[in-house]
């Protein structure tokens, strides 16, 4: 796992990284500031210490030197008591040397020839013998010791006859110890003011180093004292003492800065400076320590005015900063250690505290799998995690509640959908779906289509042929779903039942309206078109109950001219009116519901009358003008228009083409009988002749006889009231396809086809005596058709010639 992934995966890890980085940064800044501060304090402290040490050193040297001066001058003050005598003078010298321990030797230099007895030079001296520790007397003048009078700096006063005390330049002891020495000389004067001798005190300068070493600020400080003749009185390298010229040494081995230092020192300034290679680290030899030469040194310097010496310390800067540097190093170690321990600590603390979160996450994963019974982790603390857990539990509860509600809703929806399915089933089972419905007929072609919407509207269409009449209807029940489907079922049943006994559409509609208006508690209404097309003649009677007006499509497209009336079920007692027209062969009657014209696309635009008319106009150009082609074109146009928009209403179309062809009449016979049943044998004679002409066999002839007798007797009995006279005209016509009997009378309007059918399965007791006549006609003929034309009852019986050979009676 990459570090980035780990960072993203673990809050503990991420937080630790952030916290430790920030804390480390802050601590580092503080630490560096601290170190800087400590360093500054240290440097200041060193300065203070060094200044103090320097002051101490200067004072100590000055004190010692001053003591010597005082002692010598005091002795000079009372010298006249002893000096005039060549023996007593030793007392003076002894007193002086005993009085001051720094004085290693005291000499009295007399002027040349002062004691003639002692020769030209007389110089009594006393000194502390290093081995015996006793004061020894000596005389360094005289013929054997003339050197004292050489013009050396030590007896410079003598030669220059100085008026006051004088510190000579330091020098090396002429004895084997080769110790650095310096001599303080004071002139002794006679009362007249002339100098007769010089009192010289030799001071051993070994203490200088000791004194300075005592007060130097640090053990590792180096000490150097330079005299006014640029010689070292004191130097870490003892070989340099009084043998190397300081300025020359610096010029050879030092640098600009150290040269500057020595110059300042020799100008008797007081101060400090930092540099590499100051005099303290320079040596006479060649084995100089490289490290020391390149290391920065802080040098403090100050003069001893009395003797014109410059005292200086050097302190290696490294040494001073050793502590702060050590501190800094420790700080870094500490910081590292802290970072590591802090990281571990924070990581484990956060990890520990976030453990419930992890448990919560595991529970959540279980819940996500759909397991709502998973227990939530128990969290004892009362912190945000606990809140989260509690909120989560709440969420879980509402989630499971929601899910169970959803289940109920879903099952409700499913039952609703099955209800819709039921509605759809009701709707679809009610309508004829087999097309073409009458393949054996050559006078009618029908095509219908019902596309239910998802919510199922109450559209329906129906048609059937009874007695050579095509009964058809198209309707739309208001509302949707099961109620609409049920009303539709009722409406269709009413249509079927009522039209079985009634061939006038306006009367069918009126009766339907009464039934529906009575039953319509739910305020549902039905728009409907009912038409009756008399197939032999092409006479159409049509009644509209508030429905879309159908189109007539033949050579051109026209809208049918019919009364609108009101929808069924709105108001009882409405007088429906119907229109009558003649349909010429090859005309298509196109019926539809508003599902067609009001089909909506996704922009809520409607298909509309104009588009529908347009499609119908285009259809005129089709070669095959059959109803199913029209419906196909219309359906395609609607589909293209609505695209994928869901339709809210059913779409229903019904196209009926009247295709009756005129055929040549092969045979035509006619007979007119009075309304007297005793003329039946004449009728039989007539029928026999017709059947014989057509070549019918005995059985078929008998069937034709029976059918005609029943039909004609019926007319004779019912069309004319008892006792009134009238004629019944019977015309027999036959073409290649069928035989047709047309029975015409001018009696009262009487439609025998509306008689109820008898039930042939009843028992003897239940069986009525009558009613067999029309029943037999229906059974024997292919169709029976009644029309009231020009004040006459016209009953037409047809028998298809093609079916004659398969007459059902032969099977018996």
């Amino acid at each position: 796992m990459g570090i980035r992934n780990r960072m993203n995966a673990s809050v503990a890890f991420r937080t630790t990284i952030v916290v430790v980085t920030l804390a480390g940064l802050i601590l580092l800044i503080f630490g560096l500031w601290q170190v800087h501060h400590v360093r500054k304090v240290m440097v200041e402290e060193v300065h203070r210490q060094a200044s103090r040490s320097m002051d101490g050193a200067i004072k100590a040297i000055d004190d010692r030197v001053s003591d010597v001066e005082t002692a010598v001058q005091t002795a000079a003050a009372y010298a006249d008591l002893f000096a005039y005598d060549d023996k007593n003078c030793y007392q003076l010298l002894e007193r002086l040397i005993k009085h001051n321990t720094d004085i290693a030797a005291v000499t009295l230099l007399y002027r040349e020839n002062y004691f003639p007895a002692h020769g030209r030079y007389y110089a009594p001296t006393v000194y502390n013998d290093a081995t015996t520790k006793a004061v020894e007397h000596d005389e360094i003048g005289g013929p054997d010791h003339d050197f004292c009078y050489l013009e050396t700096d030590s007896n410079w006063i003598y030669t220059n006859l100085k008026e006051a005390g004088y510190w000579c330049l330091p020098y090396l002891d002429s004895m084997s110890t080769k110790r650095p020495m310096v001599t303080y000389s004071v002139p002794l004067k006679e009362p007249n003011g002339s100098i007769y001798a010089v009192l010289c005190a030799d001071v051993d300068l070994m203490w200088v180093k000791t004194v300075i070493d005592d007060v130097k600020p640090y053990p590792y400080s180096r000490v150097s004292v330079v005299s006014r003749d640029e010689q070292f009185i004191c130097h870490p390298d003892s070989s340099c003492i009084l043998s190397v010229n300081a300025v020359k040494l610096v010029r050879e081995k030092g640098n600009k800065k150290s040269m500057e230092l020595i110059q300042r020192m020799l100008r008797w300034e007081k101060g400090s400076d930092t540099m590499t290679a100051p005099i303290h680290v320079l040596t006479d030899g060649k084995d100089d320590n490289r490290d020391e030469l390149t290391a920065n040194q802080i040098v403090y310097f100050a003069p001893v005015d009395r003797v014109l010496w410059s005292v200086s310390f050097s302190i290696p800067e490294d040494e001073i900063l050793k502590t702060p540097n050590k501190l800094q190093r420790s700080m870094f170690y500490l910081l590292g250690l802290m970072a590591v321990s802090l990281s571990l600590l924070i990581f484990f603390v956060i990890h520990y505290h976030l453990r419930p979160l992890k448990l919560l996450a595991e529970s959540t994963r279980e819940i996500a799998k759909g397991n709502f019974d998973v227990p939530m982790p128990v969290i004892a603390s009362h912190d945000e995690i606990r809140h989260l857990r509690d909120s989560f539990e709440e969420m879980l509860k509402s989630l499971s509640r929601y899910v169970s509600e959803l289940k109920i809703t879903t099952s409700m929806k499913a039952s609703m959908e099955s209800e819709l399915k039921v509605a759809n089933d009701i709707q679809m089972s009610m309508i004829p779906k087999t097309f073409p419905p009458y393949p054996e007929r050559d006078d009618i072609e029908i095509s219908g289509q019902l596309t239910p919407a998802k919510a199922v509207g109450g559209d329906f269409y129906d048609f059937y042929i009874r007695d050579e009449k095509l009964f058809f209807c198209v309707g739309d029940v208001s509302g949707k779903g099961v109620p609409a489907a049920l009303v539709m079922a009722v409406t269709r049943s009413l249509f079927k039942t009522l039209s079985a006994r009634e061939a006038a559409p306006e009367r069918v509609m009126m009766q339907m309206n009464e039934s529906l208006a009575d039953q319509s508690e739910s305020n549902m209404f039905v728009t409907m078109l009912t038409g009756v097309l008399d197939l032999p003649t092409g006479r159409l009677r049509i009644c509209n109950a508030g429905h879309n007006v159908p189109l007539l499509i033949n050579k051109e497209v026209e809208t049918m001219t019919i009364d609108s009336n009101i929808p069924l079920g709105v108001m009882s007692d409405w007088k429906y009116t119907s229109q009558e027209m003649w349909i010429s062969p090859q005309t298509i009657i196109f019926l539809y519901t508003d599902g067609l014209t009001e089909a909506e696309n996704s922009d809520h635009g409607q298909f509309g009358d104009e588009r529908m008319m347009g499609v119908a106009e285009q259809f005129l150009a089709e070669e095959d003008k059959s109803p199913n082609v029209l419906l196909e074109r219309m359906s395609d146009a609607v589909s293209t228009f609505v695209d994928h928009a869901e339709q809210s209403d059913d779409l229903t179309m019904l196209a009926i083409r009247y295709t009756k062809e005129h055929r040549d009449v092969r045979l035509q016979r006619e007979i007119t009988l009075p309304n007297d049943v005793q003329t039946v044998p004449q009728l039989a004679q007539f029928v026999d002749e017709v059947c014989e002409a057509l070549g019918f066999d005995m059985s078929l002839t008998m069937q034709m006889n029976l059918a005609l007798e029943e039909a004609v007797v019926n007319v004779m009995n019912y069309a004319y009231p008892k006792g009134s006279d009238g004629d019944v005209n019977i015309v027999a016509e036959a073409n290649d396809v069928r035989l047709k009997f047309t029975i015409t009378d001018s009696g009262l309007p009487f439609d025998p086809t509306t008689k109820e059918e008898i039930d042939t399965s009843l028992s003897l007791e239940e069986r009525p005596i009558g009613g067999l006549g029309i029943f037999l006609v229906r059974e024997l003929m292919d169709s029976i058709n009644y029309e009231r034309i020009n004040g006459k009852n016209v009953l037409t019986l047809r028998k298809k010639l093609g079916t004659i050979q398969q007459s059902p009676t032969h099977a018996l």
Binding site: V677, V680, P681, A684, V713, L764
Partner: protein, 100 residues
């Protein structure tokens, strides 16, 4: 149309000859009246010579049966040709009569 009644072995036999159509039915009805007075035995309607029957004739047959049945008299049909039989079948009357 001619209708003849005679008694044979305690049974009444009605013999129909020719066409029993609507025109002939009233006379036939008159001829069959004696059958309604039968109290016992059985009635045989002999159709061997019947050429044709319309609904008026069927009504007469049914009427005979309706009178005879309550008295426990069996009514038999005999000698029907296929065409007549088919008419009886069509109307369901064939189930009500006994055939011999």
């Amino acid at each position: 149309m001619k209708t003849t009644l005679y008694e044979k072995d305690g049974s009444m036999v009605a013999v129909f000859e020719g066409r029993l159509d609507t025109a002939a039915a009233p006379q036939c009805e008159q001829d069959l009246k004696p059958l309604n007075d039968c109290t016992a035995g059985e009635i045989v309607l002999d159709c061997n010579a019947l050429e044709y029957i319309s609904s008026s004739g069927l009504r007469l047959f049914l009427s005979v049966l309706k009178h005879a049945k309550p008295k426990g008299i069996h009514v038999f049909l005999t000698g029907m040709n296929a065409d007549l039989s088919s008419v009886f079948k069509m109307t369901g009357l064939i189930n009500l009569f006994e055939l011999r």
